[in-house]
């Protein structure tokens, strides 16, 4: 029971982290500019303005957008499938479907974060990665651990 609760809590935490990484606006932060995958917040004249991203390689940016959305979708799907498999899986079997969905989510967020690191902001000297970028990598680790857990875990034979 405790282990089940721990796994569910960890899964929900991963979902929340992934959603924050995809939605919140802090992938790349400079002094008064905060950019994410969808737009840019600029602090000018004592007010925050939301503008479109310019001078970004469009195709790579859209690939990162797509992979982060897909990672969120797959982890949420994995949670629902896990709960469903808790009731329908025959005893002693592994949660393979859940594990598969979770490993796909892990691959997606890894691809997205890697493309972001390699292709965007390559030549900029000022500014650094914001908390959403860090959360993306942390959720990659968490999804990987969860996927392994689902592949190893067996349903209790009672």
């Amino acid at each position: 029971m405790l282990m089940l609760a721990a796994i569910v809590v960890l899964h929900i935490t991963t979902i929340v982290l992934l959603l924050v990484a995809a939605i919140d606006s802090a992938w790349w932060v400079k002094d008064s500019v905060s950019a994410d995958l969808w737009g840019k917040w600029e602090f000018t004249n004592n007010m925050w303005h939301y503008t479109n991203l310019k001078d970004y390689p469009e195709d790579y940016l859209q690939a990162v957008q797509a992979t982060s959305v897909l990672a969120c979708v797959f982890t949420i799907l994995a949670l629902f499938v896990f709960v469903a498999q808790l009731f329908t899986l025959p005893k002693g079997m592994r949660f393979t479907f859940t594990g598969t969905l979770q490993i796909i989510a892990c691959l997606c967020i890894m691809t997205g974060a890697s493309i972001y690191t390699a292709k965007l902001h390559v030549n900029e000297s000022s500014g650094g990665y914001g908390h959403c970028y860090i959360l993306a990598w942390i959720s990659f680790v968490l999804t990987f651990i969860l996927a392994l857990t689902y592949f190893i875990l067996r349903k209790k034979k009672e």
Partner: protein, 203 residues
Amino acid sequence: MLTFLALTSVALLGIVPEQSQAIVIYTGWERHALVGSDIRLSCSFFSWRWTSEDVTFSWTYRPDGSRDAISIFHYTGGAAYVDNKGPFRDRLEFVGNPGRRDGSILLKNLELSDNGTFTCDAKNPPDIVGRPSSVRLLVFEKVPIQAGVITGAIIGVVLGLLVLIVVIYYLMRFLVARRVFSLSVSKHGKKKKEGSQQRQIKV
């Protein structure tokens, strides 16, 4: 007296709507093109009257960021007059058919400075009351990737594949189960019946 009033009211009802309907002009809303290409700007109109011989079409051009419009094309009295002094000299061609209410023009060899709004005004005497319609021209150096096209494509393809794989998996399981069942019925149907009869006798 009453019949006279009725007849006049019907006649008035017949005439007044024709005069109060205006001419409606149709052009596109926005057109995109690459530098160096040609583009056809279409203009057509709807009018309750027959197409008159004095039908006129005129196109005016207002560059982006400018407040003045310049006249670039005029068709009247059966003859088309194209721009021979302005920004479109030698680049404008009339490709419309006024008899069929088509006043389209062809712009050749587009440049970046051709970004702007083109307004078409058509008149079909005596139907002359109407609003000119405008089409915005956007000229690009290379075709820009529209926001979200690649994102949507990747998400759609991956989710579609997922649904397809799940459907095929369950379909295969269902079909294999059915095939096994139907095979045993057709080949061993007689044997099964004999077997069940024997069991019944024993019981």
